[in-house]
Symmetry: C2
Subunit: 318 residues, 2 copies
DNA sequence: TTAATTCATAGCTTTTATTCATCACAAGTT
DNA sequence: AACTTGTGATGAATAAAAGCTATGAATTAA
């Protein structure tokens, strides 16, 4: 009778029970330990009895009047209980630190025709505003970025409208007009502005298929000629910067997004940028995320950072 | 609304909840995870919601139809949950191993006049019977052993009756007769047995105060002379073995417990052991432990081991 | 003996966990 | 568009547990 352990309960041990036995080991007294745990003495007694029954060992040697005594195995169990509780505390701390929406890693995708012009100003400013946020950038086509966003590889992507996919939410960032880039010796050098219709029959150098900017320009400039010449075909794998260099070299003309002007320091004297006559064709740059993405605060911060970053010639959208 | 964490519960996290989130992370599916945890899906959903509310972070990104996604912080929390659960499992294992009453450390006290004769045969046998039991032996006076037993420094003590203390239980082990030890050239060499009364006026060499055996001999042999001579006074700090050597050297006579005979190989030709005439004076050797001591099985094993160990000339007591 | 102290037990209450049934939502399919 | 299917969330009811107060049993001290 005296030494038989009675099976009391099927439920596995709880952290509360571990807290109880640690308290008893510290106070050497059931009543005081209960007080320290903010429960009544019977509550604590029963909980410890349950745990002892479950573990199959006596943890404490009770002798009324005198202080209680921890058994040898009890001491080992209590030592381990300390470890368990400590690890649980660490878990809480991890969550606590992770509460800050501006910490951790954020994987941002940006399309090729935006990245080079937006990121140089965005990244330093974001670094300043959210120093604990580790930003990982992926530049690619809209289609790939969308896939990666959907499957969770990316947290958000910056793309250009139109963009509507199920399960994805978007928010417009800014409206960016298109401009015409001409070599210095071009016939249109004297003109102040260009009409989209002027580009008809012009052989524009444009990016290859997959770049949404290409499609947008073609749509904006009816009847322009693209992809006919040898030169244009060689641009399939290139970038806007490549095209700009070719404009500077006098190879031809193109249409660029307005933000790319700011980055043409070295060849600004070789290229003339001509605005379109209002209403100028433009693209809407937006940020997109999964509908159920949990860190929307982070996205909001990125959005605000972009919208307070001076990008010449764009119209901030709310 | 979407991102607000609602405070649901004051109760701290539980190991069950940690098991739930680990299951979800493994199954990537609430329903399957619930099944794996042998609970219904709402149970698991609510538990996770509670945990998320308590931690203040979203652990999973739910999107119907598609599989659920673990948030970055969620992954960190789940990793830590694995650690907590692992440590809890170790706690159970520690208890499991400690279940064996014949494992761990056992601190046994033995009085000076029993230890040298009982332990040489007991320890090897106990080692054989309980190989996982680490035995720590303390030899001392009854009074000290009792104090240490009471305060938990010792698990059990082997002493001689009379011994009755509050909160302590005892069990008799064996009855050990006393014998008279004489030098070879003593006048009583031809006698077969001695009467206690014969020792009256004899100057016995006995141990110093504190040894219960001294008191028992004095009580058994009325009017014997102890402590008068220079020699006897010099025995204050000695042992039974010291006294035996002095008998062998012809310095005097003494009374010894029967078990000490077996250990007198080297001087057996110099000493004559004479039994008392029945009923011979004797001592009852017993084992004692705290009333609430939890490892009574261990004590029972020690008791049985002693009682099946052949000790010449003693009567086993049940 | 009488108090006082301490842990255990009993009966009852409150809180928490769980289930079943159902809802809401998103994707595909027809 | 209207179904169908698969998913997690929600609500009401219930089972389980954890809790408290009051009391008991054992021990020690006066």
């Amino acid at each position: 009778m005296q030494n038989r352990i009675v099976f009391l309960n099927l439920n596995p041990m709880t952290l509360t029970e571990l807290r109880y036995i640690v308290a008893v080991s510290q106070k050497n007294h059931f009543g005081l330990a209960a007080q320290a745990c903010f429960v009544s003495q019977p509550t604590l007694s029963i909980a410890i009895k349950k745990l002892e029954g479950e573990l199959g060992v006596r943890l404490f040697e009770r002798s009324s009047k005198n202080e209680i005594r921890i058994t040898e195995i009890g001491q080992q169990v209590i030592d381990q209980a300390h470890i368990v509780l400590q690890e649980a505390r660490i878990l809480s701390e991890i969550a606590q630190q992770g509460k800050d929406p501006l910490s951790g890693t954020f994987k941002l995708g940006v399309i090729y025709t935006i990245g080079p012009y937006l990121l140089p100003s965005l990244i330093p400013k974001l670094k300043q505003r959210a120093p604990n946020l580790k930003l990982i950038i992926e530049e690619n086509f809209t289609a790939n970025l969308y896939q990666w966003l959907k499957q969770g590889t990316l947290d958000a992507i910056i793309i250009s409208y139109p963009f509507a996919e199920p399960g994805i939410e978007t928010s417009a960032l800014y409206e960016e007009p298109f401009v015409v880039a001409l070599p210095r010796d071009h016939a249109w050098n004297k003109r102040k502005e260009i009409l989209p219709e002027d580009l008809a029959q012009q052989d524009l150098m444009l990016l290859g298929a997959g770049h949404c900017f290409r499609d947008q320009v073609i749509k904006a400039c009816p009847n322009c000629m693209v992809g006919n010449s040898e030169i244009t075909r060689s641009l399939e794998g290139g970038s806007l910067e490549t095209i700009r260099h070719m404009v500077a070299a006098g190879t031809g003309i193109t249409v660029l997004p307005h933000t790319s002007i700011l980055h043409s320091h070295h060849d600004e004297r070789l290229i003339d940028f001509k605005p379109f006559k209002a209403p100028a064709p433009s693209r809407t740059v937006a940020i997109a995320w999964r509908k159920h993405y949990p860190r929307k605060d982070t996205i909001a911060t990125i959005r605000e950072t972009i919208q307070t970053t001076p990008l010449n010639g764009v119209e901030i959208l709310q």
